[in-house]
């Protein structure tokens, strides 16, 4: 883009030169010069050329086509830096510390009210994101940010159980299959050491709460005590708390572990032949399954947000706007197999019909989500701490 920018610079100089009266003793009035300058400024703004040099994206592992983002950056002459995280805990901690500066982050909805309250996010200027119109109505103005003042939907999905069916004689249908450690006939007991949970406090505790039939925003200390005790007992039979990168690699082989609490799109990325850099559209691991247990599961909604300490705000808006272009969103979905709502109409039917990627409507009433308050979060963290060190 530097060539276009230079071209515009030259053009500005030419126009200004004319106005200032390079020609035959004509001297422009100051207000005329200002008007022209404004016009050029407007022009630059419209073609999106007033971009900063750097852009720092902090996103989840396996959550976009990195090749495409790199192309966008190089086309716009932007120094791109992408860092990854595997849990909201990591993201919130990094933002709260503020030592590294990011321009766009992707927090989950349940954390957003806290982030806003703590002044960690800055408002998004929707005027700079005309492509926000591509987002389906049902994803706008949701309870965590009713006026979309700070966030716009990125993607959404569920947290449930994935397993390698070659390693099991039966199907997994319930959270009890990985929580009922009292019963020696349960799947987790018969496959002890072959089960993993996510490395994210809230996800793990929510799953235990759903299994126990407690609300996933409980503040009842007895219930939290039960949740912690259950997780501590389960720990003896776990391989560990394992994130995206590791379970995406191990599940299809199933030699180290083969039952994982996981995020749907990651598993779709395992089932489909996928890479973070290419659109691939064939099934690779049909023996990996993703199930929403009969007790239900957590649904989550991840969102674009701009941290308060972001330095490249124009780039942040330009990036979000670019991402929300329906074709771009569709390419991202075809790459990493997470649904990006802005592009749904361009996604091929074969992907749209995949129930691992797009949650079937019949399951909607089995899905729960919650908004964390800072009090709730710190209370839960205390119990989670006990689970970890046990």
């Amino acid at each position: 883009m530097s060539s276009r920018r230079d071209f515009l610079r030259v053009a500005v100089a030419g126009v200004a030169g004319l106005a200032l009266g390079g020609v035959a003793g004509y001297y422009a009035r100051q207000d005329e010069v200002d008007r022209l300058k404004g016009k050029v400024e407007e022009l630059l703004g419209r073609v999106g050329i007033e971009l900063e040099e750097d852009f720092n994206l902090f996103n989840w592992t396996w959550y976009a086509n990195l090749e495409l983002i790199e192309e966008w950056a190089s086309e716009n002459n932007i120094n791109l830096q992408i860092d990854h995280y595997e849990s909201n805990d990591e993201l919130v901690s990094e933002l709260e510390l503020g030592a590294r500066q990011y321009d766009v982050v992707v927090p989950s909805a349940s954390y957003i009210p806290t982030l806003i309250e703590r002044g960690i996010l800055q408002p998004i200027d929707l005027d700079k994101i005309p492509n926000a119109d591509n987002i389906p109505e049902s994803f706008m103005g949701r309870e965590w940010d009713p006026d979309n003042e700070y966030t716009l939907i990125y993607s959404y999905g569920t947290t449930a159980i994935a397993y390698n069916e070659e390693k099991l004689d039966e199907e997994i249908t319930s959270w009890g299959d990985i929580f009922d450690v009292e019963n020696p006939d349960s799947i987790i007991r018969r496959h002890s050491g072959r089960v993993t949970m996510l490395p994210e406090s809230i996800e793990v505790m929510d799953a235990a709460a759903i299994y126990l039939g407690y609300p996933i925003d409980t503040t009842d200390e007895n219930q939290l005590e039960d949740i912690a005790n259950l997780l501590i007992a389960q720990k003896d039979h776990l391989y560990g708390y394992v994130g995206t990168e590791e379970y995406m690699e191990e599940l299809p082989r199933g030699s180290l572990f083969y039952i994982s609490q996981s995020w749907n799109g990651d598993i779709a990325g395992v089932i489909w032949d996928s890479s973070e850099r290419e659109v691939k559209m064939s099934i690779l691991n049909p023996h990996v399954k993703y199930v929403i247990p009969e007790e239900g599961a957590v649904a989550w909604f991840d969102n674009f947000a701009i941290p308060a300490n972001a330095e490249n705000i124009e780039n942040a808006h330009a990036f979000i706007n670019w991402f929300l272009d329906p074709v771009i969103s569709a390419i991202h979905t075809m790459t990493v197999k997470y649904p990006f709502p802005a592009g749904i109409k361009y996604v091929p039917e074969i992907i749209r019909n995949d129930q691992t990627i797009f949650i079937p409507e019949s399951l909607y009433d089995k899905l729960y989500w919650t908004i964390l308050t800072p009090e709730l979060e710190s209370l839960w963290q205390q119990y989670w701490q006990r689970v970890q060190t046990a």
């Binding site: 849990s87 805990d89 990591e90 919130v92 901690s93 990094e94 709260e96 510390l97 309250e117 703590r118 002044g119 960690i120 050491g193 949970m197 406090s201 720990k235 003896d236 776990l238 391989y239 560990g240 708390y241 082989r253 030699s255 180290l256 572990f257 308060a308 710190s378 963290q381 701490q385 006990r386 970890q388 060190t389 046990a390």
Partner: protein
């Protein structure tokens, strides 16, 4: 050029004074190192102390989350750390990992250092030392990944053991304490080997020969002659292994399972995953307890094992 002459004189004077003054020399030699230590050791220490007492914390001021200083110390984080049975598990696990690692590296290093120092000629010795240093040209994380690959149930070791019929299925050590300990012993071995070898190198062979001549058995020679002489090297090596092994967190994260949660990992999680303000306060309290633990165990070690420390 009166000014120039003056400055030459004063420079000479300075050098002369430096020659004469021990104190000036001391300041000149110590200050660069001290500055680094003060900046990179004492300031984080003071910050951790403030975090752990809840005196430096983050709160929302005018809608923005800011760092604030509170002049009243709180002992809440220490008491919740010290009274929780589960966090003490982490402490014991660290002590366990560090002790086994120290013992393991010693058992592996001692015969190796002995052989290298006393039985090898100069050229072979240099080759051996070169081979010992060779893996350290490779990044630490890559070496840990390599171990992970080797002991993976689909990895080469399992393949070998299954194909010769020792095992029915792949090894199941990844994600257990065994994997953590193997990796730790491997990673820390050089810190034991070098100081032990360094002292062994200076061991006068004639002492051993004298012991044999005077009728001592090989075991007795080892216990009464070799080990006492090499003791400073063993002490130095043990400290170099034990102290960092106590704080180890990367290895448990990479090859340990959910049960592998030593204090280093607890502190790491508090700082990186939980983050400020709570995680910083709690993690700092844990870090302070950890420092006290290190100081006390080092003191006890000197008290009971005794001896001077000789680093190489």
């Amino acid at each position: 050029m009166a000014e120039g002459a003056d400055s030459v004189v004063s420079l000479e004077g300075l050098i002369g004074r430096l020659r004469r003054s021990r104190r000036l020399k001391l300041i000149l030699f110590l200050s660069p190192g001290l500055t680094v230590l003060i900046i990179f050791f004492f300031s984080p220490f003071i910050f951790s102390l403030l975090f752990s007492l809840g005196m430096f914390t983050k709160t929302v001021v005018d809608g923005v989350s800011r760092w604030v200083f509170i002049p009243y110390p709180e002992l809440e984080y220490y008491s919740s750390f010290l009274t929780s049975k589960s966090t003490l598990n982490s402490v014991f696990q660290s002590i366990y990992y560090a002790s086994v690692t120290t013992l393991g590296t010693l058992l592996l290093s001692f015969p190796m250092a002995y052989y290298m120092a006393l039985k090898m000629d100069r050229g072979t010795k240099n080759i051996a030392l070169f081979l010992i240093f060779l893996p350290f040209w490779i990044n630490f994380l890559i070496r840990v990944y390599a171990i992970k690959f080797i002991i993976h149930p689909d990895g080469p070791l399992s393949f070998l053991l299954v194909s010769i019929g020792v095992l029915d299925e792949g090894l199941r050590i990844l994600g257990t304490d065994i994997a953590v300990l193997i990796t730790m012993v491997y990673s820390y071995m050089i810190f034991m080997l070098l100081p032990v070898y360094g002292v062994m190198e200076k061991l006068n062979r004639e002492y051993i020969e004298a012991a044999y001549t005077l009728g001592a058995t090989p075991l007795k020679t080892l216990l009464r002659v070799t080990i006492p002489i090499v003791k400073p090297g063993i002490i130095a090596g043990s400290l170099l292994v034990f102290i960092p092994a106590m704080g180890e967190f990367i290895i448990p994260i990479m090859v340990g399972g959910g049960r592998s949660y030593p204090i280093g990992r607890l502190i790491y999680d508090q700082f990186i995953r939980i983050g400020p303000p709570l995680g910083f306060a709690y993690g700092s309290a844990a870090a302070m307890v950890y420092i006290v633990l290190i100081v006390v165990s080092t003191y006890l070690y000197f008290r009971f094992v005794g001896g001077e420390v000789r680093l190489v």
